[in-house]
Subunit: 475 residues, 2 copies
Amino acid sequence: MEGKKETQGITIRKSENVPEWYNEVVLKSQMADFSPIGGCMTIRPHGYAVWESIQATLDRMLKDTGHKNAYFPMFIPEKFLKKEAEHFEGFVPEVAWIEDENERYAIRPTSETIMYDAYSKWIRSWRDLPVLINQWCNIVRWETKVTKIFLRTREFLWQEGHTVHATKEEAEEEVMKILGLYTKLVEDYLAIPVLTGKKSKAETFPGADYTTCMESLMPDGKALQMGTSHNLGQHFSKVFDIKYLDKDGKEKGVYQTSWGVTTRLIGALIMVHGDDKGLVLPPRIAPIHVAIVPIIFDKDKKKVFSECEKVKKRLEGDYTVHFDDRDSYSAGWKFNEWELKGVPIRLEIGPKDVAKKQAVMVRRDTGEKRPVKLSGIEQAVSKELESMQKAMFRKARKFMDDNTVETKTRAELKKAIKEGKMAKMAWCGDAGCEEDIKDETAATIRVIPFNQKKTSSKCVCGKKGCCTVYVSRAY
Amino acid sequence: MEGKKETQGITIRKSENVPEWYNEVVLKSQMADFSPIGGCMTIRPHGYAVWESIQATLDRMLKDTGHKNAYFPMFIPEKFLKKEAEHFEGFVPEVAWIEDENERYAIRPTSETIMYDAYSKWIRSWRDLPVLINQWCNIVRWETKVTKIFLRTREFLWQEGHTVHATKEEAEEEVMKILGLYTKLVEDYLAIPVLTGKKSKAETFPGADYTTCMESLMPDGKALQMGTSHNLGQHFSKVFDIKYLDKDGKEKGVYQTSWGVTTRLIGALIMVHGDDKGLVLPPRIAPIHVAIVPIIFDKDKKKVFSECEKVKKRLEGDYTVHFDDRDSYSAGWKFNEWELKGVPIRLEIGPKDVAKKQAVMVRRDTGEKRPVKLSGIEQAVSKELESMQKAMFRKARKFMDDNTVETKTRAELKKAIKEGKMAKMAWCGDAGCEEDIKDETAATIRVIPFNQKKTSSKCVCGKKGCCTVYVSRAY
């Protein structure tokens, strides 16, 4: 146990080395582990509980808006993938294949093609529309780029929504509705602020008319794409021949959308909120809200345990509460462990607290420690959790604001990127200019915000600006 | 729409051709569809909603007993699979492989080996035990046998539990605890009676000390294995070197279990309960409990709809209620559709019902139709659902009892199997005799019930019987 104690906590400072700090937090908090298959991860129970919490939250939103879950085969015949040329070009370098006597199958890198083949059979008349289907599954992108647990792995988990609409307008509305739900999930639950808008053509999903997205800024100055919602227009419906007989007796082509968020969101949670003691989980997504740690000496054990059990029962209706009654670890060890795991509130109860009818409440994000009366424990916990949720979002927002700079010239842009900032700049709209920026700075246009006023600034290339964009390096 | 109407319902009788009836029900109820990849299925939203209901029920039971979910890579290095010789032999014919520059990976046919490699890293001391991990995921068994949607497919969904214990006794207890939860899930929720017991050596999981199982009898006289719970003893812990430092300071090997149920349970639900009108879903697992169908004439629409909405609201706290307000389909069409989809209760509300303050309640399993007062609608629905759940189980139990016969001689056994019965017989315990039975009848020993009294009967081979077993053909 002594051996363990020495290495229990985080030894690398976030401010000194984000990538190494991140790996240490992921491993020591037992969120995930490296796997023996290069680039694949093992999601451990604590990490998976966070994923279940994200799933439950988003799944409820999707069901409330009429979406239904389904499951399509993981194997995609090569000939399907080839049907939409851009789509094939975009995904083929990443695909893992298996071969049969007759055919080559891709392990799904995304499911547009296998789903839309089915849709073309299922959809006959206007009565069959809209189709609002979502799938929770594993995805494989056997890419060779540098991998990082949760943020970029060969296999990951996600949800992919694939909808079909009678009109262009309905498809557009769906794209924005989903981006709205995603923003709500990420900002209101994960407490991570995002920039939303469209992608440039170069960053658009292969086979989409346009891609909308949410982007957030990580502590190492790289942006992380947190989710995308694509308007596929009729790219796929044309090649998969998805048509419906309208009320007017005419056969018409459908309009489609697809959208997804992945286990990468867990990586964002760790990156954005974690600190030198480990994870900090926002209350609205934390799988455990309160950890109760008894502080005992042999003679008081029964009394203290009974008080802990009572507190647990009182809080359990509204929160997930863990009473840490293990004999084999000291209170100090337990404090560290629950801090490492990011549990929002720790309640310490010892014999003196029982006597005073109180518990000591410790809040994870601030470390603030204060006694609270047991009589008002529900309200105290509820208030603290709400306040913590808001404070975490504010802090993350401030970080993003503080690390976003307006740049007018190429020199300013290069400086900003070098310093790990996100640059806000006017862009000429030219793909060549975008390419030049990438070549020079390794940064890309992350997002073109919606509903812009026409900019009067010039692009960093000197040409007339057409819109404001955010530029940074990215995961 | 006329074209559709003609083919809306089930045209094949269950009593005349179970396999074709089954396929028609699966497709027309929109539970699932064939896929373009031979042997793989597409689970459509209605089928997936049933799976979600099964998942939610079992997941709650597993969490209440201390199990936690996790996710391990889908790719298993060939060298891992080879470590346990029996395990490798058992699974290798079914495996789909992908190849990398360096290695060959199996797409998981089951996850013992990839998980236990991780366990050997994670487990150090007695404090780390027990490990109670479950995984919900997709599984691939690229076998060439005849496939059938839900019952035998190349890719399917399942949960697999993998636990680690300090002692043999704890592992034994876990195996039986899980079999108990499975039995509860299947009998109390799915309303399908099962026989539980052990498998013979020939039917034991490759790499297990012994396999316990639940078996049920399908309407075509074939048994369906509904779930298994294996005691792995130390087979895997030895080859994966999973050891712990015990309180006494000594290093000891662990004991393990693994267990699973799959989307095959959905096939069982369809097979056992379905009838000539389609699916019949047991209330405790049905994703929709009540479908409200308005019976309207233009002038009454508003009044009738408002009453339907009111009823929906009143029932919604306890049940999932769907108000079918579509204009584009007739009431008759809707009746057929909800029957096809197996919704337990249909409430019909027309202008006359509104006037009489009643609804017409139709129960799916019996087709029984009767008016119920709106004032007592909650109690009426609750009572009917409970009664339906019980009646469905009783009916299925009676079918199994009626189709199980005791056989004393080989001739009787052959006759029983030929007639599509399950045979109950004394068995000598000899693997050669078991093999002979299989060769002659295509039937296998499905289950050896627990806690038997010593049998005085002779085996069908003439030798002394050692135990009573159930024998039948199987999926």
